[in-house]
């Protein structure tokens, strides 16, 4: 090979060499986005291509919405570099968009178009959309009622549980009286009280609030207590030699040191209180998402049940997210906390 052709090869090879990795990285970064766009176009087409086997009014709108999502996914990922953090976020979630698009397509085809899944039990996506558009007021009322009940019961339970836990952990006398009661009543599932509670309380709403508070209070009490009890004596010694009074030891040493435990209790309490909330709404309270589920079942309105389940899951997940955010705020001093 002559010197000439070598330098010629290098000269012409250089741009090709740099173009190939560029293309590769472009495909890597935008390819998934394009795939997501294809998946959502497929979903849109699956909505519009065949006739529905049933009578649903939102099929057309759903198809259009799918195309809109496809366009957003396409431009969002291809032009991500110009869209700042929103573009980066979209690119990061692109693989999920692909999976969701495929899932929606399969769901649409298997229900609305060919009814491979038995129909009233497996409603198509458009019928769930229909619930959100046509039954919105009732659904919102239910959401509002559930949030109100849950929030009231949870806040009462968490506050009482926290105060009880600190008192038992701090004072031997309080522990002597409260501990046996706690051992006797605490492990009982709060739902076991349901029949009695609905008789003895003046309203089903107050009964449910009490039960949610009970379900929240037990884990919060136990974990706050164990948190306070496990605070190292060395911290108290340090504070005492620096002139701390008992109130300072409780408020500024015991409680902050126990806070990581308290949050574990708050998470556990949140989980068990959700369960109580739904059961209480199904059995006693004539409002809320639990009641909505029950009501939908009575009418064999399966789409409404799925719609309510989705809302419920968003609410529960939102509550957990909120609690995690509060914890991360209060416990910045901890290293290596779990991300939700």
């Amino acid at each position: 090979m002559s010197t000439y052709s070598l330098s010629d090869g290098l000269a012409s090879g250089a741009p090709r060499l740099s173009r190939a990795p560029l293309l590769a990285s472009w495909v890597r970064e935008s390819g998934v986005g394009i795939l997501a766009s294809v998946a959502w176009i497929a979903f849109g087409l699956s909505c519009l291509w065949w006739e529905d086997v049933g009578d649903w009014s939102r099929t057309h709108s759903l198809g259009i919405a799918a195309f809109v999502i496809a366009v957003v996914a396409l431009f969002g990922t291809v032009a991500a570099d110009y869209l700042g953090s929103a573009g980066r976020a979209l690119r990061q979630r692109a693989p999920w968009l692909v999976v969701l698009g495929v899932f929606m397509t399969l769901w649409e085809v298997a229900t609305a178009k060919f009814a491979w899944l038995p129909l009233p039990f497996f409603p198509p996506p458009q019928s769930i959309i229909e619930v959100y558009t046509d039954d919105l007021p009732k659904l919102l009322d239910s959401v509002f009622a559930s949030v109100k009940l849950q929030l009231g019961g949870y806040l009462i339970g968490a506050t009482v549980g926290f105060l009880t836990g600190v008192s038992i952990g701090w004072s031997r006398a309080v522990g002597y009286w409260v501990h046996p009661v706690l051992r006797f009543i605490g492990p009982l599932p709060a739902t076991a009280w349901l029949p009695i509670a609905f008789f003895t309380f003046p309203s089903s709403w107050s009964a449910s609030t009490f039960l949610i508070a009970l379900a929240t209070g037990f884990p919060v009490t136990v974990l706050t207590w164990s948190g306070v009890a496990s605070v190292s004596n060395a911290y108290y010694d340090v504070a005492r030699t620096l002139g701390a009074k008992p109130s300072f030891l409780v408020l500024k040493v015991a409680i902050p040191a126990a806070l990581p435990h308290v949050f574990v209790g708050l998470f556990m309490g949140l989980g068990s209180s959700f369960a109580v909330l739904v059961v209480a709404e199904m059995i006693g309270v004539k409002a809320g998402l639990g009641w909505y589920l029950q009501w939908a079942q009575g009418w064999a309105a399966y789409a409404n049940m799925y719609a309510a389940l989705i809302v419920m899951s968003l609410l529960c997940s939102g509550a957990i997210t909120l609690l995690f955010a509060i914890r991360d705020r209060l416990l910045v001093w901890q290293k290596g906390t779990v991300k939700w």
Binding site: D237, V238, R240, T241, K245, P256, W333
Partner: protein, 266 residues
Amino acid sequence: MVAATALAEIDAHPAAGAALDIEQVSHAFDIDGAELPVLSDVSLSVEPGEFVALLGPSGCGKSTLLRLVAGLDKPRSGTLREDEARITRPHPSRVVVFQDPTLFPWRTVWDNVALGLEAQGILKSQRHRVDAALDLVGLSSFRNAYPHQLSGGMAQRVALARALVNDPKILILDEPLGKLDSLTRITMQAELVSLWQRKGFTTLLVTHDAEEALVLANRVIVFSDRPARVKADIRVDRPYPRHRGDPYLADLRRQILGLLGLDATW
């Protein structure tokens, strides 16, 4: 490392040392019903502003004695006095620096140092003292850091600042440098001496290192095995700064190690 302005700030609140009298103190612990005698008839008189090092075999009762001086525990018999007043409970005029820094992990460095003033309810008007104490140990730039972000030496310096900000009359140090690497240790020994010389507090230092005791202290008390008795009370009449190679100190060191039963191995 020591900022002049910081020292001036701290010197604005002079705290001369207090006298400490330990009179025939004995102490014991109950372990599974059996009595474990830990201190046996310990008497010790410390002059205001003296720097006393306590040496003794591990587990002999040195930390127990310091806890009694701090007022964290009460002796089974005997009395302890600070400037004639009987010690019955902790007081910020007697501050302890423990072997572990025991910083509060949920508080920033600044808030840790502010602990004493906050507990005494005087932080609002005395915030400058916290800044000064942090300057003094050279950690002003870490005021907003959390303890888990500090090295061992830095954490121990924060613990020292947390003690000094209270202007103690008696500073009680329980092997505060024991876990540090030798370089940090030597630096902190020098800082400790200069602080003590400027502020004049009485110092009780427990250490397991005879050399450290001799470089720092006016007086070295050697304890026996558990239950601890005062075995020897040695004056160290040497000006500061002291040199580790000083033959006078080397001689004392040999003598002390002999008392501790280590003649052959020094």
